[in-house]
């Protein structure tokens, strides 16, 4: 009896989902478009190397200034606008017009003097300025050392590491962020179905039959999980084949993060549905939630790019942990043996359970038939 009902409900909801063009647009087409846009804008065409255009002024050429100029020319990330030094005025002009990222004014005398760095105020705090300034510092230090005939005692050797088997590129980061986001949105927006069914009297109609509503909800959940798997596969295919993203999959952490996440965001959607009389109200709530979470959960950019005072937010909201969990399973190949993975799952679960309990309470307090 229950099996017969469940099979019927599952088949009906699969058909309904596949026939609804909106589902396809919002669950697949839209995330793919968004991902492609972000890949093109921020992916930098695959090689994300740093380059700065600079101008050099040498007001009174001398041995030191010539030596520094030669060094500057050899720094690969610096591109000189003019091979030969220009006047200070010309250089300032370019900085003001933002034709160059910085103007470097070489020392006027061979003895004690300074190297000038002139940048546009608008980009005073930019990463480019920071980088140019630190490169210049290193060069000046080298010059100082050689001026007194010394060699450096300590040097820095840098090596970048990640937990992944391979380097994680922005493409991988964005791809997994988008996968997490679209699965989460599937849950957040998907529960509009309930509002729609209530508005059209379908919930009431079903409650007049021996149909078990719990089974109906379970069947709906399974259908949404299916859609989630389709989303992951399609986005991953586009990311890997069109943008060269690399995945290192750990199936256990992926499956656990996916199922928990899909349930948690559906629970949030369920909570919104309990408060919404109309579909518009529901969509408003879901949109606000998804927008806020989208930019505060490290979907597009790492969380540490946020200002300090805002850093607390990503530590609370579930999307952060969901995206992290999906990254553990998709690019870092982290197994389920890490405590941070389980902490993320734990925080998501708390969200899910809380949303579900509040929603059930709200639903209990109003009768289905009160809505006509």
């Amino acid at each position: 009896m229950a099996a017969k009902q469940f099979a019927g409900m599952f088949a009906a909801q699969v058909k309904t989902m596949f026939r609804d063009k909106q589902t396809w647009f919002w669950s697949l087409f839209f995330p793919i478009i968004l991902m492609v846009l972000f890949m093109i804008i921020f992916g930098g065409g695959g090689s994300s190397s740093f380059k700065a255009t600079i101008a050099v002024a040498d007001p009174s050429p001398n041995a030191s200034s010539t030596a520094i100029l030669e060094t500057l020319k050899q720094i690969p990330v610096f591109e000189l606008k003019e091979d030969q030094p220009v006047t200070v005025d010309q250089g300032r002009d370019w900085v003001e017009q933002e034709d160059v990222d910085a103007l470097i004014v070489l020392p006027k005398t061979e003895g004690v003097s300074e190297v000038g760095l002139i940048v546009n105020r608008a980009s005073e705090q930019s990463a480019t300025t920071q980088a140019v300034s630190s490169i210049l510092n290193t060069i000046v230090q080298q010059a100082n050392l050689s001026a007194v005939g010394a060699t450096a005692t300590y040097t820095v050797s840098m090596e970048s590491i990640t937990t992944a088997a391979d380097d994680v590129k922005y493409q991988d980061f964005l791809l997994t962020g988008m996968i997490g986001l679209s699965v989460a949105q599937g849950g957040l927006f998907g529960m509009v179905e309930i509002v729609d069914m209530r508005k059209r009297g379908l919930l009431k109609r079903l409650s007049m039959t021996p149909a078990r509503m719990g089974l109906f909800g379970l069947a709906g959940m399974l259908v949404r999980l299916m859609l989630g798997i389709i989303q992951i596969v399609c986005l991953a295919l586009v990311g890997v084949f069109a943008f060269g993203a690399t995945l290192h999959i750990n199936i256990f952490s992926l499956v656990i993060a996916f199922i928990v996440g899909a349930l948690v965001f559906s629970a949030m959607g369920y909570l919104f549905s309990s408060f919404s009389k109309t579909m518009e109200a529901y969509m408003g709530m879901a949109n606000i939630a998804s927008m806020l979470m989208m930019f505060l959960s490290g979907v597009f950019f790492p969380i540490n790019t946020l200002p300090d005072w805002l850093q607390i937010v990503p530590k609370i909201i579930p999307l952060t942990y969901f995206v992290d969990g999906m990254r553990d399973g998709l690019i870092y190949a982290n197994g389920i043996a890490s405590s941070s993975f389980w902490m993320g799952i734990g925080i998501m679960t708390i969200w899910g359970v809380a949303c579900y309990l509040v929603a059930s309470q709200v639903y209990k307090s109003k009768s289905i038939s009160a809505v006509r």
Binding site: A12, R19, R200, L202, K204, R205, P210, S369
Partner: protein, 309 residues
């Protein structure tokens, strides 16, 4: 033994007594119609009987079953077509029927139901592409998929064109032939009169009157309206009016040009006498009619309200 008994049913929403002590019993195989103006408490009454709303007071019994103890069994035994036709829009006619069939332990075949509601040709059509009448027929089809003993139809024909309405009447009469009990609410007096075995007029949460349509009309023992119109013009009508006033059963007359209206407590006798008179005088009568009393008159007489569709 009645299939459904309702006893002193009450339901209030805040200060509004939507249903205020309604009692009736429905016999097997009957078409039992509840009529009444908007807000009379029809739908609230139905929703309590269907188990959607808990009554404040009173009891509802389906034979020996009641909602508190036998909710699941009652749901298996009844079929409901709610006022707003609630259907799965993206499923086809057949898929809707088959889905609902899975809910019940016993069901009719979708094939058979589609045949009864005359939607076999539209079986593979998505519900959102059906016409209003077709959707309504499907909603009734869903109400009979479990081969229920009692079917509740809440305003099944509201908003349909006359042809679509007739199609639905045919279905309701077919259900009666199958021995099903139907509980119907409607906005259309003509429909109630044509289909019902018994009619229950509800107003302000109470039953105003309950009987067969014929008995209800008969209770209106008032005078009947008789109309005559004359080919020979105003003079003939005026002379006949004078003659009619002499007849004892004629209560009142009214004339406009060549047409005459009179109210009689014994319309057949009045006409017999009047025809004698017109024959003697050689007046040619163009049209005669005795206005039929309808449920509408019953409604007006009992509630004091104008009936509006």
């Amino acid at each position: 033994m009645p299939v459904l008994e309702v006893n002193q049913l009450r339901k209030s929403f805040g200060d509004v007594h939507a249903v205020n002590g309604i009692s009736f019993a429905v016999e097997p195989g009957e078409i039992f119609t509840i009529i009444g103006p908007n807000g009379a408490g029809k739908t609230t009454t139905l929703e309590m009987i269907e188990g959607l709303l808990p009554p404040d007071a009173g009891d509802i019994r389906f034979g020996s079953l009641n909602w508190a103890k036998n909710g699941e069994q009652i749901k298996q035994d009844i079929g409901v077509q709610p006022q707003s036709s609630a259907l799965f829009d993206l499923l086809t006619v057949e898929e809707n029927l088959k889905l609902f069939a899975t809910f019940y332990s016993h069901s009719r075949s979708a094939e058979e139901v589609m045949d009864m509601i005359n939607l076999t040709d539209q079986r593979s059509r998505h519900v959102k592409k059906l016409s209003g009448g077709q959707k309504q027929r499907l909603a009734i089809g869903l109400a009979m998929i479990n081969d229920p003993k009692i079917i509740f139809l809440d305003e099944p024909t509201t908003g349909l064109d006359p042809q679509a309405r007739r199609n639905i009447w045919d279905i309701i009469l077919k259900l009666k032939e199958l021995g099903k009990t139907t509980i119907l609410t409607t906005h259309y007096m003509e429909e109630a009169e044509k289909l019902s075995d018994r009619v229950c007029i509800v107003d302000q949460g109470q039953i105003v009157t309950l009987d067969t349509p014929a008995a209800l009309i008969e209770r209106l023992t008032m005078e009947r309206e008789v109309r005559l119109s004359f080919l020979d013009g105003e003079a003939a009508a005026a002379e006949t009016e004078q003659a009619a006033r002499q007849i004892s059963s004629v209560v009142r007359t009214e004339r406009e040009d060549a047409s005459l209206k009179l109210w009689s407590t014994k319309p057949e006798e009045t006409l017999y006498e009047l025809f004698g008179y017109t024959k003697d005088r050689g007046f040619r009568v163009e049209q005669i009619s005795i206005r039929e009393m309808s449920l509408e008159d019953v409604f007006i007489a009992f509630t004091g309200k104008e009936w509006r569709d």
